[in-house]
């Protein structure tokens, strides 16, 4: 059986005046239908760019997908022309964005925008679409949905706008919903509501969700599997339990270690991963993380570690010294 989404050796480059920015480097993974996949990593590690590459919304120029395949239900999206791709967007793959403040068009009512998305891919009259839009708003938990359809985005709160965005994303019942940091701009209580909502919707509608975030707490709660990205590559991948409990990559360990814990004594300084992510214009020859890694040796600096399976396909890591690190991981 073919996977819902299979990405093979995806490479995205930005050709700028300063040089070639290697934003996504050889990313390969697959997603099954109905699965929730978490993608984590710090800012600028290529999470969003790789998602936009799937949708082919990379601004070109300067961006270009230089290599790879994006197989959606066995069909390579990179081979489609703009017209066919347009049919995939919204209908097969929908995307919601980080900033709910700017992702709704301020000059149209919320209802108009949902109706428009609905009518784009479905053969619906305005009336039917409006009715469906009301149902969708109710589904995402906006009270008084019928009357709120005629509201303008500025009359919605941040959380409600994100709900409206989700309603728009769901409008054509996509098989895959890419959520690009959908909770980052929201406060914590609203974040929790949105997470619950998406989980509930996923169970009801059975779509696959790619949840891009830098919030490890949120993905732990909802995802089944996680890809950890660093400098445009996947460095550790596997089931949530493996990633959190049997961490094998020093970067993932650093990320997890930087989370504040309830049992920390007051006044403890938050741990952080020292240094800065590498310049994507000039990636080092060896492991991209080596410069910040406490466990590096000469081998790490000289050669880029490949992804190796350490527990079957359920846990894959790109580190030369994962076996030694296994011994010192305190989480286990």
């Amino acid at each position: 059986m073919t996977s819902l989404l299979e990405i093979k050796n995806l490479k995205t480059r930005f050709f700028t005046a300063d040089g070639v920015v290697k934003a996504v480097n050889d990313v390969s993974y697959s997603m099954e239908s109905g699965e929730i996949l978490g993608i984590v990593g710090e800012s600028g590690c290529g999470k969003s760019v790789h998602a936009l590459s799937i949708m082919q919304l990379i601004p070109d120029p300067p961006g270009k997908i230089t290599n790879g395949e994006v197989l959606f239900e066995g069909r390579n999206l990179l081979d489609l022309d703009e017209r066919d791709m347009r049919k995939v967007r919204g209908r097969d793959i929908a995307m919601i964005f980080q900033d709910p403040m700017t992702s709704l068009n301020p000059v149209f009512t919320v209802g108009y925008q949902i109706v428009e998305a609905l009518r784009l891919h479905n053969d619906m009259t305005k009336k039917e679409a409006r009715k469906r839009a009301g149902e969708l708003l109710t589904l995402v938990g906006i009270p008084g949905a019928e009357t709120r359809l005629d509201d303008y985005p500025h009359q919605f709160s941040g959380g409600m706008r994100q709900r409206a965005m989700i309603a728009m994303g769901l409008s054509c019942e996509p098989k895959l919903l890419i959520a690009d940091e959908p909770t980052t701009a929201l406060d914590v209580t609203i974040q929790a509501q949105i997470v619950d909502l998406v989980k509930k919707l996923q169970q009801e509608l059975g779509m696959a969700i790619m949840w891009i975030t830098h919030d490890l707490g949120v993905v732990a709660e909802m995802a089944e599997r996680i890809n950890v990205m660093y400098a445009g590559s996947i460095i550790e991948r596997g089931k949530v339990r493996n990633i959190y409990k049997k961490t094998r990559h020093p970067y993932t360990m650093g990320l997890l270690g930087s989370l504040p814990r309830l049992d920390d004594s007051p006044g403890t300084k938050l741990a952080s991963v020292p240094g800065l992510p590498p310049d994507l214009l000039a990636l080092p020859e060896g492991c991209a993380f080596a410069a910040r890694c406490a466990y590096r040796n000469d081998h790490c600096l000289a050669e880029k570690p490949p992804l190796v399976e350490i527990d079957g396909p359920d846990h894959i890591v790109a580190c030369w010294r994962w076996e030694e690190i296994a011994g010192i991981n305190k989480n286990e």
């Binding site: 919304l57 601004p59 919204g90």
Partner: protein, 409 residues
């Protein structure tokens, strides 16, 4: 102890809010400002009087002539000397200035609308496309359309010089061909030579009969255009070509360029309108492009793409309403500018052809009589120009305040 019985709470639906759009908000702010109201009043007066005069007060300037009433001062009641009432007096041909000022308003209105219409449509489209495709990939169909358009615009100069439209059409064809065969001798110097040669031929040959100098100029321009079109055709390139063209137009002083265009087209109010319209195209093109560049970074444009919207719909449904505010302001100010420019052309005798009533031409006709005391023949047309320009400018200022997002609460 007294029994406190809780009162039954009747829940009333207090959450009835109006669905206020940005435009209604802006309108409220506009009418709450005194200067804007004054501007609106003047503009309404000007527009109404012009329309009413044109449709309900017949005037044939060709037969309006009465030497017995030459240069009579304003009168409020008829007397022996002046048997009819002339509110604003009469001019050197004994024509009623009030009547001519009001009818001149119709001409000014037409100039404003046509000139701004030309510059807004052409400039606005150039700005929209340039700004949009600078950031968003073109599809092959859009590329063909845009480069045909580029060829057409580039072909206007030789077509103008040789006084026939053939070159513009041929250049448009060259643009289409360049976009249709992007892989023809790709990455090879041959492509440059072939397109340059083709450009030279299609512009030089049709202009042969117009003289050798014209042929030379057209040929060089054609070779340059052909060479340009042979390059990789991207949005950034399209935007660059368009904006540099706009810079070229902008580098001429506006009035001089308008005079040059009128000199070429011949005098007449209609020609004046076209000239004024062409001169201010770059203003709108640059304004629109900058507004597009600011809005296109917003996530809702990305979101519109992500639900599978077509580019044309994104440009006209999502982008355009969001960049309207600066353009509305500029359009209002532009109307004032166009009226002023038309008056300047009329004053120089390049706009309206006498005896057509036109404020600038009326000034030009009458200023010689100022020394002999006929102040009214100059004052009233001048006042009309000043007031209408003031009205549009006040309205524009008011609109700017009303539409400024920073003031939005």
């Amino acid at each position: 102890m007294a029994n406190i019985t809780p009162e039954e709470v009747i829940v009333t639906d207090f959450a009835v809010r109006e669905h206020r759009s940005l435009w209604i908000d802006a309108w409220r702010r506009l009418i709450s400002s005194n200067t804007a109201r004054l501007g609106m009043f003047i503009v309404a007066l000007f527009v109404l009087s012009a329309i009413l005069a044109h449709y309900f007060w017949e005037y044939d300037p060709k037969v309006d002539l009465d030497y017995t009433l030459k240069l009579k001062p304003p009168t409020l009641v008829a007397n022996e000397d002046v048997p009819s009432v002339h509110l604003f007096g009469t001019d050197k041909l004994g024509r009623d200035i009030f009547r001519r000022v009001v009818h001149g308003g119709w001409n000014s209105l037409r100039v404003g609308i046509v000139a701004v219409g030309i510059s807004l449509t052409v400039g606005g489209l150039i700005g929209l496309f340039a700004g949009f495709y600078e950031n968003i990939n073109m599809t092959s169909l859009e590329r063909i359309f845009l480069f045909g358009f580029t060829g057409l615009i580039m072909g206007i100069l030789p077509a103008w010089a040789a006084a026939q439209p053939l070159q513009a059409v041929l250049m448009a064809g060259l643009g289409v061909a360049a976009a249709y065969f992007p892989n023809f001798h790709k990455d090879s110097i041959n492509r440059l030579w072939i397109f340059a040669a083709a450009g030279g031929v299609v512009t030089a040959v049709p202009s042969l009969f117009a003289g050798s100098l014209v042929t030379l100029v057209c040929g060089v321009w054609g070779i340059l255009t052909g060479a340009l079109l042979s390059r990789p055709l991207e949005g950034k390139f399209f935007s660059n070509v368009m904006m540099r063209l706009m810079d070229i137009v902008l580098s001429f002083p506006g009035y001089l360029l308008a005079i040059a265009i009128v000199a070429f087209l011949g005098p007449g109010l209609e020609k004046g309108m076209i000239a004024i319209g062409i001169v201010s195209i770059p203003v709108y093109a640059r304004l629109t492009r900058s507004a597009v560049l600011a809005v296109i970074q917003k996530e809702y444009i990305l979101a519109a793409q992500a639900v599978g919207e077509k580019h044309g719909r994104i440009i006209f449904r999502h982008l355009t309403p969001n960049i309207l505010s600066p353009i509305i302001v500029q359009t209002t100010m532009g109307l004032a500018n166009a009226i002023l420019s038309a008056a300047a052309l009329g004053f120089l005798g390049l706009g309206a052809i006498p005896p057509e009533p036109e404020w600038g031409a009326m000034l030009g006709d009458s200023y010689r009589y100022l020394t002999s005391g006929a102040w009214w023949a100059v004052l009233f047309p001048g006042l009309a120009i000043m007031l209408s320009v003031l009205g549009f400018n006040l309205l524009g200022d008011g609109l700017r305040d009303a539409l400024d997002p920073k003031l939005r609460t």
